[in-house]
Amino acid sequence: MHSFSFLRHPLLAAEDTLGESVSDLGSTPYYVMVGYLVLLLVLGLFGWLKSKSGEEDYYLAGRSQGWMVSSLTIMATFFSSFALLGAPGLVYREGVVFALFSLNVPVAGLSVYLLGARIWKLGRKFGYVTPGDMVADYYGSKSSLRLLVAVAAVLYAIPYVVMQIQAGGLLSQDLFGEEYFDRGAIILAGITTLYIMIGGMRSVAWTDLIQGLLLIAGMLVSGFAMFLVFDGPGNFAEAITTELPESSLTVPGTTGLWTWPMLFTVCLLGSVGSMVQPAQWMRFYSAKDTKTLKRGALVFAAVLTTCFILGVMLIGLAGQVLYPLEYSAQETVAQKDGETLVDAGPQKLDQPVPEEFQEHFKFVPADPAKPGSTGQVTWKWSGKSKEFDAESTVTRLSALSDNAAYKAAVGKLPESITEGKRRPGVAPNPNVSEFDAILVTVLKKQLPARLGSFGALFASLIFVAIMAASMSTADSNLHAMSAVLTRDIYDQFIDKNASENRRVWVGRIVIMLATALALAAVIYGRNPEITAKYDFMKMIAKMGLMAIAFSAQLLPIAIDILFLRKGTGKGAAVGLAIGLLATFLMGPLFGILADATQISVLQDLVKTFGGLKFANMHGSVWGLVLNVPVFVLVSLVTAKPDPEKVRQYEEVLSR
């Protein structure tokens, strides 16, 4: 049973009566954000004053970071706009099933110690700066492995930076108006670039310290704020369980994407994949000792999981109650073989659509001018609908035309909706600009209404936490990418004799260029044609998961070096190359390339590779399915690494 009535939650009714003042946070967000940005620049300057010349200081802060700074910079790098905008956005779209994504955080926490401590020991002993340093040194590879590790780093870092800059735009858009999207994105990108360039790792880590504290507070407080909005946890739970549709409360969620194989592979590979990405790898190097990483792992697993599951995830659920999703089911008015276009469907209905259905039912006829064109019937309804009788409504809609194809299409609508054979389309409520904006919308509209000027301040601080989450991840990834491109590409292939000072400057230029590229991708990605076709360009969490699929391809190499030491350099290189290629070909980037170039062979390949996905799983799986066996097989028939190097590694790691 579904209802077509668009019920409004009582809290929204209160919002209406308060009018504009409810959504108006006054000038508080301006003051709070300006204060925050000035603080970041001061910290950047302080990092510069404390810095010493040389790459090891610029990239690893002299390997001297204590547990507090290390824990928070690892956390702040891990938690990005994905945590504060993307995750609630996906809970808002998919329902409670995505809250289970929180269970990836303890896996990442364990990795901080189990992988991080080993990476630290080797980095300390052999003076490594980038992941490529370790991989190339262990396997005795002069160039190919370094290059491939750098490619993996860039494929991970660019989308991750893109989504942080996108978050800055989104926040500005929802706070100050749509025309502020570009300005918000540019300001976030500009200030982040500035303080990394000034102070390197020291500035990044110190700003991450502040940003890490802010985002922990922001995540917890935003969950707590929902209890205030609903007058207590009991009312909150009751609203969710009684007002949300069943698809929002069960597996696999609203769109059917979050089946257990997807959830499981995201929680396992997504988390560990995030921990072997270059920015985290370099954070392990820069820790003061392994005790630092041990404490970091504990804080990470205990505190951050709590922030997710008891904090920010609740916003998405509250959003579904306050701003019900809009669903739509669409059926084609099919043309059977041998039928004429007229037989395939009416050009107009015999009777007008009854008034009570006009908001929800739409018929679009086939276009006679376009061969092969088909008509469509669309049915839209609200997320909290419970009283609609699908059967009787379909009977009444079928009666609007005698055309058999039309009747057949209308007859399929309840099948799409009620039997779950095909998931309906889903869109955010008209009061929410996009799924990722749910946190901003809920806080902006609800907190001032409930708590007055204190609510406005409260909301503004959480918005600063979003900026913090975005900037702390963007800075870490830009900084790591500059290290990788400078040491693993420039230093190896362009100018082997460059001085340390020159290399640091090359790194700064890389940061500027990468930021400009990411900013261009954000602005280009706002094109409605792009977002309509590739929702990962619009949804932060999806872009993040795509990026992690690339960094996860470093896992077999990391596990071999840190634990097994059975592989060979050629095996590692071929496995990684094939893993990255498979991840690219099976992921959305290849589709964009095919569309952009309009090369028919590529477009056919996109369909072919899409058909090879035998299960609904995280993108990293498709690369690893080839990466691991190829690594093993090639390692069996190629020369082992230098035995002396293997012995040294075993000695360091056995301590």
């Binding site: 390997r63 001297s64 409670v96 099933v97 809250a99 289970l100 994504f101 929180s102 269970l103 990836n104 303890p106 896996v107 926490g109 364990l110 110690y113 401590a117 630290w120 020991k121 300390r124 002993k125 052999f126 003076g127 490594y128 340093d133 040194d137 009991g234 739970a237 009751e238 969710i240 369980t241 949300l244 069943e246 409360l249 069960t250 597996v251 257990w260 959830l263 499981f264 995201v266 929680c267 396992l268 003061k288 000792d289 392994t290 005790k291 041990k294 792992a297 504990l298 697993a301 205990a302 999981t305 709590t306 599951i309 659920l317 301590r655």
Partner: protein, 82 residues
């Protein structure tokens, strides 16, 4: 039994418990959840809270009782340049 052996045994147990929690929480175990509510909470959310508690407990126990080998690893470790 030596302290090292005891820690190793506890580590193995914790590893098994953590893997079970991962399989049960976001893994195939989630298909065992029936209905939409449990004690007034969304059933899937309550399921997630249960395995969250198990996973975090494993990390806390590991921190206190298993990860002790590296306490001495500090800044005084010998280093050579790559």
């Amino acid at each position: 039994m030596s302290q090292h052996a005891e820690r190793s045994k506890l580590g193995t147990i914790l590893t098994i418990v953590f893997i079970v929690a991962l399989l049960m929480g976001p893994g195939p175990g989630v298909m065992l959840v029936r209905g939409t509510t449990f004690l007034g909470f969304p059933a899937i959310y309550a399921w997630g809270l249960l395995w969250y508690a198990v996973e975090v407990a494993v990390v806390v126990i590991a921190f206190c009782c298993v990860w002790t080998d590296d306490d001495a690893e500090g800044a005084d470790t010998d280093s050579v340049s790559a």
